[in-house]
Amino acid sequence: MARRVLPGFGLSLGYTLAYLGLIVFLPLAALAVKASDIGFAGFWATLTSPHVLAALRLSFGAALLSAVVNAAVGLLVAWVLVRYTFPGRRLFDALVDLPFALPTAVAGIALTTLYAPKGWIGAWLAPLGIKVAFTPLGVLVAMIFVGFPFVVRTVQPVLESLDRDIEEAATTLGATRVQTFARVLFPLLLPALLTGFALALARAVGEYGSVIFIAGNIPMKSEILPLVIVKQLEQYKYGDAAAVGVVMLALSFLLLLAISLLQRWSRRWAER
């Protein structure tokens, strides 16, 4: 074996593997074992029940949509915070992290109070025929809220490290502003943007506390997957609950894997 430049590879790798095994892999394995209680037929029957399928569509659909919104708005916010100086910038910068710090139940109750038909915002939307709280739209709003900081915080440092020289070079070479952004800046930001997107997506899929207050939880309409798991547990059907959990995990893993592949591809594209 070739001598490595840095010492301590074996020790640190061993530590990493043991830690990951204990903190991440063990609970997941326990989940899979629990799910295997009900056998393949039971597993399949649980997953293809209309309630589970409807919740699956809502959870992943709303989470993807919320991640797209957060990617777009997050990029804009990161841009404003990095590129412009204005009074109160530091304050805004600190505000971005608040959705991280707030207990999710508090966020859910606050959002529901705002968007309920008699709430501050809901009362304005009601005459227009727009219902937010207790509809799938409410689920989306809560997911956007909890996932917001991720994109800002992943894109911001990359944007800060970009040299102005590149843009100036592009301009002197005759690129329009749009071209400079689309062909020079965006490719450099894309990997970070995708990381933020993936984190926001993962958070939104797993979110329970805030969504549960605003969703209304109407079967087939505004029930999220984590609620379906709670419903199974209320019937003491641990195996079925674990089965839904395993599927959520598998789907999330596939999505995150796809995003990481996309990221690798985008990095190569940026280097070209």
Partner: protein
């Protein structure tokens, strides 16, 4: 080395013996559901005082509160409850199925092991603007009904069964008409919160809905705390007798050596003193003196029991609330 170990052991045994001769400090864990917080606070101090006077031991009863199903799962997963006092027999049956409680638990204490009862009533806004008087007013178009999801809330299952039993007992009532009635009722539900307290918040704080289906004790408490001039309680012509049962967790009590005191605690719930406290906290007492004292508090409601109409909890759960069972067939949300 060996000698010193032996000496230490002897010393600690001596100390234990000395402690045993004095009055003991006993602690019990009562795992209960949400709205019993105020009730058990009073009952626990009354029980501790009585036990201290009789036996000289100090008993501290700790109570854990939460959704009934969640509490039962905690006990199954190893929360060491000496006694459980939950919202429905189904949750205690689930613990019994795991072998922690003897299978005949419901016959070990009087009245189906239920020291106090309640029923399902309606809470409406001041002046009852929608003119709600009975269950059949709840399925009228334009009436919004607030109730938690029966799949996630044990309390809400009582609401559902009360509505079903009412429809069933109407002239010409059958399972088919009851199913249509309950389906129509749930069509009028805009929000299905996961628990009873969530529904109360939706109705009271957010001003959503015209009528809240609630346990009588919750409705009376809400009215007491939130102002008598904001809400009115409507008693339907017919409702279900809600029986929140209690049980000794045999395995845990034997392990803790607390069986005697835990059994005494549960029996205490049936004494006039505890029955009076139940009435004070808006639960319907069995004890005649207490029932008479608080008669004015409780509206007159004719009730039926889950055993009579549904053949007990196990059957009701399988028929109505299991996956793919009647509640799932109602087409709620469509």
């Amino acid at each position: 080395m060996l000698v010193s170990l032996r000496r230490t052991l002897a010393g600690s045994l001596l100390w234990l013996g000395a402690a045993g001769a004095h009055a003991a400090d006993i602690s019990l864990l009562n795992v209960s559901y949400d709205p019993t917080r105020e009730l058990y606070k009073d009952i626990n101090s009354a029980f501790a005082a009585q036990w201290k006077a009789g036996r000289g031991d100090t008993v501290t009863v700790n109570v854990s509160h939460g959704g009934s199903g969640k509490q039962a799962r905690s006990v199954i997963d190893g929360l060491e409850a000496d006694v459980v006092t939950l919202a429905l027999a189904y949750d205690i049956d689930a613990i019994a199925e795991k072998g922690l409680i003897a299978g005949d638990w419901q016959t070990r204490l009087p009245h189906n092991a239920t020291p106090y009862t309640s029923t399902i009533v309606f809470l409406v806004r001041k002046g009852n603007p929608k003119g709600i008087k009975d269950w059949n007013d709840l399925i009228k178009p334009g009436v919004e009904v607030i109730t938690p999801n029966p799949k996630t809330s044990g309390g809400a299952r009582w609401n559902y069964l009360a509505a079903w039993g009412y429809a069933l007992k109407q002239p010409g009532g059958s399972d088919a008409t009851a199913k249509d009635f309950v389906a129509a009722l749930f069509k009028n539900v805009p929000v299905l919160d996961t628990g009873a307290r969530g529904s109360t918040t939706t109705f009271v704080q957010r001003g959503i809905g015209d009528v809240l289906l609630a346990w009588e004790n919750e409705a009376l408490l809400a009215r007491q705390e939130l102002g008598k001039d904001e809400f009115e309680i409507i008693a339907p012509s017919l409702s279900i007798l809600a029986e929140p049962p209690v049980a000794l967790v045999d395995k845990v009590a034997d392990k803790h050596g607390t069986r005697a005191v835990a059994e005494a605690y549960l029996k205490f719930l049936y004494t006039p003193a505890a029955q009076d406290l139940a009435g004070k906290h808006y639960y319907r007492p069995y004890d005649e003196a207490a029932a008479k004292k608080y008669a004015a508090v409780f509206p007159k409601v004719t009730t039926f029991t889950i055993d009579d109409v549904f053949g007990g909890w196990k059957k009701a759960q399988a028929t109505h609330f299991a996956d793919g069972a009647v509640f799932d067939q109602l087409g709620v949300g469509k």
